[in-house]
Amino acid sequence: MTKHRNSIAFWAGVAIFLVAVLSMTQIVRNEYPFFAGYVILQFIALAVAWSILGGYAGYVNFGTNAFFGVGVYTAVALFKATGAPLVVQIAAAAAVGMTLGFGVGLLTLRMRGIFFSIATIALAIIIETFVMNWRFVGGAAGIQLQRPPVMAPFDSYVKMLFFVQAVLVVIAVGIARYIQNSRIGRGLQALRDDELAAECTGVPTLKLKLVACMISGALMSAVGAPAAMYLQYADPSSAFNLTYSVSALAMSLIGGTAHWIGPVLGAILLGSTQQFLAVTISSEINVLVLGIMLVLFVVAAPKGIIGLLRPRYRLRAGGKP
């Protein structure tokens, strides 16, 4: 019963969120809040996507930037070749991200803990090098993109992207929430706590890790897809910037990984602080703030924000950070 009621509350919250976002794009004239808000939404979706493998399963992925960049360049290549609309670009990016997640998962998920993390760092470097030498999408110099005309009911492309990213957040959170409450989630949690014990009880560990890696990868790439249109420009060193990996990881850990709300809270806190500082002081200070916050949380609240809020999760959220 309570589960059912929780679901109603959740989807009502989602509906209110989307309506609020949509009405904001219709009412607010100034474009700046959408510019800043887009980035925060992007990080919420990235952090939630990251936590599906990094949080639930405890497999720390340093390759967020690889998936994000693949999303960016799938959209760029598709747009340049066929002029496909944004929705198609995002769907294609998700498909490519999922395929990449499957391939990477198959090759690396047999490795445990730190070895998996190291392998994912290499992944971004390999793909970035490949894109740098791909003339069609501009190579190392990058590529300028002309936005197509905006669609109704939006009056500016940035507002539309803001709404699209909000939808991606809802999709990411919906999937993460579903996984958390499902048998997949319980299996992932079991293998995070003790992989051997999970195997003994019949949890298909490799299969579940692969599924988590594919879903996480698909979401990360989908989140990256609109970035090229947002900036009207793409270049390999920004699309594959390690900051995406560090941010997604830090936001998840600061928020707490035992519940989907953790990465959301972490990304809102860290993302808005960074946006605020970028305007008031300088965007250079972002990495410093991220580092300081991470240190503070690791010392004072190792289970993240949700660990402070719910004592039960403090016990649950253990395992590998």
Partner: protein, 245 residues
């Protein structure tokens, strides 16, 4: 319900280290077989091979159920669980941050096991009343003896027909070892289990065993047809009973 396990010429190891060499062993339906040996002789590796957690380099590992032969070397651990094999791993390996009930529920992760979740939970609580009293306690906060009971109960949740138990006596006081062994014997009668138990504690293991093997440096040194034959064996006298060989 005929079930038997047959192992022939099994070699297994970790990289260059050979843990098992030419192991041959069989377990017939309804038997309790003890696999005896001191630390580092390959008992756990053999258990993990049967469960599909370690892939052997060579040899046959087959489980026959009602006349149908299954080659375990080709199956994944979860498929082996589905066939009715469960392992109580060495050192218990519970999920310490989950409650007793949650640990038991994870034992019934497989689709086949979920159908019988009620009966199996009732059986677990009936066999181990202490677990029922503590069903909402976190597994990691229980005593070693209770944790061992929970580890066995969790394995029962998958409705196994062949139960593999790896060193149930590890880290327990002599009294608790004795109680644990008695419980295994009791369970076996009750559910009609077939049991293969790896153990260091010779005197405790032979209380419930029908027969046993002794494994030394990865090879089966003794294959005894009865407990009496085991007791009379020279190697046993030398290794376990303090006799002069």
């Amino acid at each position: 319900m005929a079930l038997s396990l047959a192992i022939e010429g099994l070699d297994a190891g970790y990289g260059a280290v050979k843990a098992l060499r030419g192991v041959a062993l069989h377990v017939e339906a309804g038997e309790t077989v003890a696999l005896l040996g001191t630390n580092g002789n390959g008992k756990s590796t053999l258990m993990k091979c049967i469960m599909g957690l370690v892939r052997p380099d060579r040899g046959r590992l087959s489980l026959t159920i009602d006349g149908q032969v299954h080659d375990l070397t080709k199956l994944s651990p979860e498929m082996i669980v589905d066939l009715g094999v469960a392992l109580v791993p060495e050192g218990r390996r519970l999920f310490p941050k989950l409650t007793v009930t949650e640990n038991l529920m994870l034992g019934a992760f497989r689709k086949l096991a979920r159908g019988a979740i009620r009966q199996n939970l009732a059986l677990a609580f009936e066999t181990f009343p202490a677990l029922k009293e503590r069903r909402n306690q976190l597994a990691g906060t229980m005593s070693g003896g209770q944790q061992q009971m929970l580890a066995i109960a969790r394995a029962l949740m998958s409705s196994p027909r062949l139960l593999l138990i790896d060193e149930p006596s590890v880290g327990l006081s002599p009294l608790l070892v004795s109680q644990t062994i008695a419980k295994i014997g009791e369970l076996k009668e009750r559910v009609g289990l077939t049991v293969l138990m790896a153990e260091q504690n010779f005197n405790q293991a032979i209380r419930i065993a029908d027969r046993g093997y002794i494994i030394v440096h990865g090879e089966i040194a003794v294959a005894a047809q009865s407990v009496d034959e085991l007791k009379a064996n020279d190697i046993v006298k030398r290794l376990y009973l303090g006799g002069v060989a």
